[in-house]
Symmetry: C2
């Protein structure tokens, strides 16, 4: 593959940044990738596992001479970091991010970006429940979507270049505006996460059912919620605070539907339940066809070898 | 392993029954396993894939001479089936089931069981989102729990024999009373399923977000809900109708908690959100330690090979 940027700077060295590094290296998409993490421990780990060609102790040093700077940090601290690095950003460089929320990021960051820097927000829809510099892997973005959010002043060439980086990392790229992105993500990600956190919280808090029982009998469905609900707390706090309106809108719809189903249970309306549960199978088929999940039986996930013989 | 029963009869040939067959065969736990399915199509499939030593077209023929009869059918039809087979059950035989709900099953079935038959309800906590005779595999129960619910009149020998069958199939066996079982399962399985169905229903029904968007961007969390929400609709309708009280109790608690979290988002109480999201990580660790899930990163499930090189 062709080199897309000479020098890429990754700010924050968690799951996404570390996966970006391995993926850029796999595709030979940049001549050099440098990185910075706020915590010394993360920087030490990064150095010890060869994450980034160079890890800097100073934020400003990290971005100097970088053609692309990517903010891979919680949404809540982005404006603070951009305020610090703005004077050191190279003329003609692109500033991007990987935040799960876009309108709040644009509102907070855009006013701080110098005129000679292209600001092109992006959001790769990929992740695992793990975090930290050691959690990344090169194939994380393969066959996953990355949404690029052009701002009115985004340079088409800068958008095109960032698109090539993401497709080079294996992703499929889509473009949409910030408000629509935030609504779509409230449905596909933010509301499901909050719901999973809630369910796990309820289970943890029941005095009549012990934690051991919850843990032992989790394979019956609950387990999938705990996986989602073990995602990074700081990141998710920031997501909900910065995508407040869309998340609350979807949660409002969710509660309404849940009440309708609770009512069907209470009134023993079996037909309503059956119809509802049949309808939800269609979306699952679409996800399989779109290659966004596998059909392998999953509830017994550690034991999928069909040793029938 | 030692043969536990001479002849086992499986009523219903879906995921659980077919997995039981392959598992019993793997462990050589019965001399003969016969089966019955209501639909001719399922019986034909079973015969074509060698599922069961013999597949009967008639329910009564299936249970004659069986030392163990296991009801692997939706909870809602169990009493109807037991009324049919009761006169043909062998003296001293054990009648068991694999239903996800226990109090309703016992209330409906027990009065129909002849005095000379041992009724020992059970519930293996294992499954996948797939159903039908072709979905089973021998290792489904390995390292999973099976809960046996002794009724006051259950013979200790019959309980012990059934326990040996389940441990022979790879499961760990626990015993509890029906009401407690139903509450534990409402937490670990029934409420999570209803919540997943609800979230998928909401996503499907939003006019401002297209189905294609929901499908493409599902990898960000939503996908796990669709997997749970593609489980068998008939089975789940019956589960909710027959474990109504416990499910509604847990859903009530869930709604209460969800409102508290919604309020924290609305009032921008970041500390409350952070604390909540940190707490839910503990249960996840317990599940991993109990061997009920793997630590492999799962949100990018089809792409877990860490090809860093």
């Amino acid at each position: 593959m062709t080199v897309v940027y000479n020098r890429v700077a990754l700010i924050g060295l968690g799951l996404i940044a570390s996966s970006m590094f391995w993926s850029i290296r796999r595709g030979n998409l940049a001549k050099e990738v440098v990185g910075y993490a706020k915590s010394e421990k993360s920087r030490d780990i990064a150095r010890s596992i060869g994450l980034c060609d160079q890890v800097f102790d100073d934020l400003k040093d990290t971005v100097e001479n970088a053609d692309l700077v990517v903010l891979c940090i919680p949404v809540g601290v982005m404006s603070e970091v951009v305020a610090q690095i703005a004077p050191n950003l190279k003329k003609g460089a692109t500033l991007s991010d990987v935040g799960s929320v876009k309108r709040a990021v644009i509102d907070a960051v855009k006013p701080l970006v110098p005129d000679h820097v292209h600001f092109v927000p992006a959001h790769p829809l990929a992740g695992t429940e793990h975090s930290g510099p050691e959690s990344g892997f090169a194939s994380l973005f393969d066959n996953r979507w990355c949404i690029i959010i052009p701002t009115p002043s985004s340079d088409p060439k800068a958008i095109d270049q960032l698109t090539r980086l993401w497709t080079g990392m294996g992703a499929m790229v889509d473009k949409m505006d910030a408000a629509h992105h935030d609504l779509v993500l409230a449905v596909t990600s933010h509301a499901p996460h909050l719901i999973a956190y809630t369910m796990v919280g309820v289970a943890d808090d029941l005095s009549r059912v012990t934690d051991t029982e919850v843990i032992n009998y989790s394979a019956a469905g609950f387990r999938d919620f705990t996986r989602i609900a073990s995602s990074d707390p700081t990141m998710w706090r920031d997501v909900f605070l910065s995508n407040k309106d869309a998340t609350l809108e979807i949660l409002g719809r969710f509660t309404e539907e849940l009440f309708a189903l609770q009512r069907a249970i209470r009134t023993e309306d079996g037909q309503m339940l059956f119809d509802y549960f049949s309808r939800t199978r269609t979306i699952r088929r679409g996800i399989l066809e779109a290659g966004q999940d596998t059909e392998a039986p999953d509830f017994g996930r550690s034991l999928t070898d069909k040793n029938k013989e």
